[in-house]
Amino acid sequence: MKKMLFTLLIASLLLAACAAPTQTGTETTGGGGEAGAPVEITFMMWGAPEEQVVWGEVVHDFHAANPNINVKIEVSDWDSYWTKLNTLVAGGTPPDVFAMDAPLYLDWQSRGALLNLQPYLDKNPDMLTDVYPQTLTAYKLGDGYYGLPRDFQTIVVFYNKDMFDTAGVPYPSEDWTYDDLKETAKKLTLDTNGDGKTDQYGLWTDTWDMELFWSETIWAYGGNIISDDHTKTLIGEPDARKAWEYIDGLYKDGIMPMPATAGEYGDDLFQAKVAAMTTIGHWAVPGYVQAGINIGIAPMPTGSAGRATSVNSAGFVLSKDSKNPDAAFEFVKFAISPAGQKRLAQLGFAIPILKSVATSDDYLKQPGDLDQQVFLSALDYSHTKPVFRGYEEWSSAVGDGLAPVWDGEADLDPTLDEVVKAADDILAQNK
């Protein structure tokens, strides 16, 4: 009997431990709300501590304009955010407003977790007239919007001017090509102390997720990511394959450090001043400015089918079960109003979705003295980062599947064939 109890004890301990890394979030309050009485809404988002400060200011401004609505703000880091959100939604106590990353939007919308905002938009017909239309694409569905963008990110090339000057390499031109990128990166890949190992890489970027490099390259070579009906993965088609071969070449030639090597220098080699160029979005600017890098900005290069970049927008959604949807919508409306967007521009992480704010000094005159216009012009040749059900699992199949190729442990073509098959299986499960 004793022994059996012990077995049961150990078994249950184990199972509890299996569920250990889940970090259940519990803090939340519903907020009653009779007519006219003050109501409380909860607003959850992911973000860095600096973002929490600025969003705290947005909330403060909002409360000053709407004294009847109290906003309770909760900020978590990216990973815990989704775990917490999932738990709250599953427990039937979702936050009223929460942040959404566009690629994951359909996963939430199609499961009926989100409120259709169209009735509110019909009452506020001018709300979206000043918004960049490219940022709305991801959220627009047949029967209206179930979410609205709050900011957007286009991917551009960042380069370290000091490294270019030292090596005597001219800065990237407006009309450069992928071959130029490779040549430039080659000249900037240096073994400065002569020990036979690279000390400075020409280029570093992330090739796990599509957003920073590989989707742009595939589009520029005339390929595509996924079919319009979200049933077929297209990254193994001939045009896309040319882009993969290009990326494989960057690793094989040693211009770009392999992902396993990159880990040695921390999360960002450009910030660590080990790489001369990177492709990333505006969110990296505050960190790079703080690291004291003399940054230059250039558009993505052109490939055989022209120039392409990715645009992605983080946004807001309302929970379908929100008890105070009107108050929650008022908050969203405020956050994407000129007043809210100006605060956001000052934060320096993201690009405002309102044309009037993005083209004003609030956005254009930021620390670091960058050519902010490059980020805005990128919209003209941008593709929306794909939004489909099963996005995260699909991304994991592709990113994880191809990682051994970039680490030089597997061959591109057979691995890509396997990856496409696994990715298609996931799409089939998520119809």
């Binding site: 509890a16 889940t22 990113g399 990682a403």
Partner: protein, 295 residues
């Protein structure tokens, strides 16, 4: 094997009163979540829409899910390497440090240090050791003429994480074995010496048999740790997007439950892992009956 004092009269009331908080926690927190997991494993649930009954399909899907099979076999492989290494090395250390050697307390502390250090912090240090270009290990290897490898790439990462986990666990094992060693009466060794037994004979005929309870305990604890191993492994092998180059079963459970909207599949994976551990435990208890020596 019943021993200890039996509670009498009023003591019984107090006994239950004092045990109650723990029992409630166990009942609702542990056994409750165990049963909930079991129940969920028969449903399809994405956390948002209501769960639908799925019969055994989540269990059948386990065998077709290449990523899970990969994670599951990683856990088995990890356990198969980790448990024997931890038991043998910590036993060896305990025997060595049980002698009257120079600076014994210092060495005991040194081997125990990893146990009390934050896993995240030590994993960062190990990252620097394992680095391919700038890592300490490859630097040392190259000094003695061996060409360095990429320790944390897919091919070597398993070995690399086993080394770190073993390094982190031997301190705890050493303490268990030291306690076991101290409990062996000195007379046995004196008698053996008088009879002319040499040191290896004494080790295999006296020390090892009398340590079998500690060894059993240590195998049990190491195996449980191995099946749940997560922190060092994730910190050393994480990729962008929250991925890992050595996904283990616990990692797969977490990803499926909270990132892939597949609570049912995750529950089935958790149950399968629990069943595996239960089977392992039964084998151990069988082993206990035949090999463990109680004084």
């Amino acid at each position: 094997m019943e021993y200890g004092l039996k509670p009498l009269g009023q003591e019984k009331t107090w006994l239950w009163a004092l045990l109650l908080p723990t029992l409630i926690g166990l009942l609702f927190g542990t056994i409750g979540s165990l049963l909930a997991t079991l129940l969920l494993s028969f449903f399809d649930w994405d956390l948002i829409t209501p769960a639908t009954f799925a019969g055994l399909s989540n269990y059948l899907a386990l065998f077709q899910n290449a990523k899970y099979l990969d994670a599951f076999s990683n856990t088995i492989l990890f356990t198969a390497m980790y448990v024997p290494l931890v038991v043998v090395i910590s036993l060896f250390l305990a025997v060595m440090l049980n002698r009257r050697i120079f600076a014994r307390g210092f060495f005991r502390t040194v081997y125990f240090l990893p146990t009390v250090t934050s896993a995240v912090a030590t994993a960062l240090v190990w990252n620097m050791i394992y680095g391919r270009d700038t890592g300490l290990l490859n630097f040392v290897l190259e000094r003695v003429g061996i060409h360095g490898v990429c320790w944390l790439c897919t091919n070597n990462a398993m070995l690399a994480v086993v080394i770190v986990n073993v390094w982190g666990a031997i301190g705890e094992g050493m303490i268990i074995f030291l306690a076991g060693l101290t409990a062996i009466p000195r007379d046995y060794y004196e008698a053996a010496t008088v009879d002319g037994a040499n040191e290896p004979q004494q080790f295999f005929r006296i020390t090892l048999p009398l340590l079998t309870p500690s060894i059993l305990f240590q195998i049990l604890i190491s195996a449980i740790n191995a099946f749940q191993a997560y922190d060092y492994i994730y910190m050393l092998t994480r990729r962008s997007g929250g991925d890992s180059s050595v996904p283990v079963a616990v990692f797969s459970i977490y990803r499926n439950a909270f990132h892939f909207f597949k609570m049912g599949d995750a529950s089935a994976q958790a149950i399968q892992l629990a069943v595996l551990v239960a089977v392992f435990m039964l084998v151990l208890f069988w082993w206990e009956r035949h090999f463990v020596v109680y004084e």
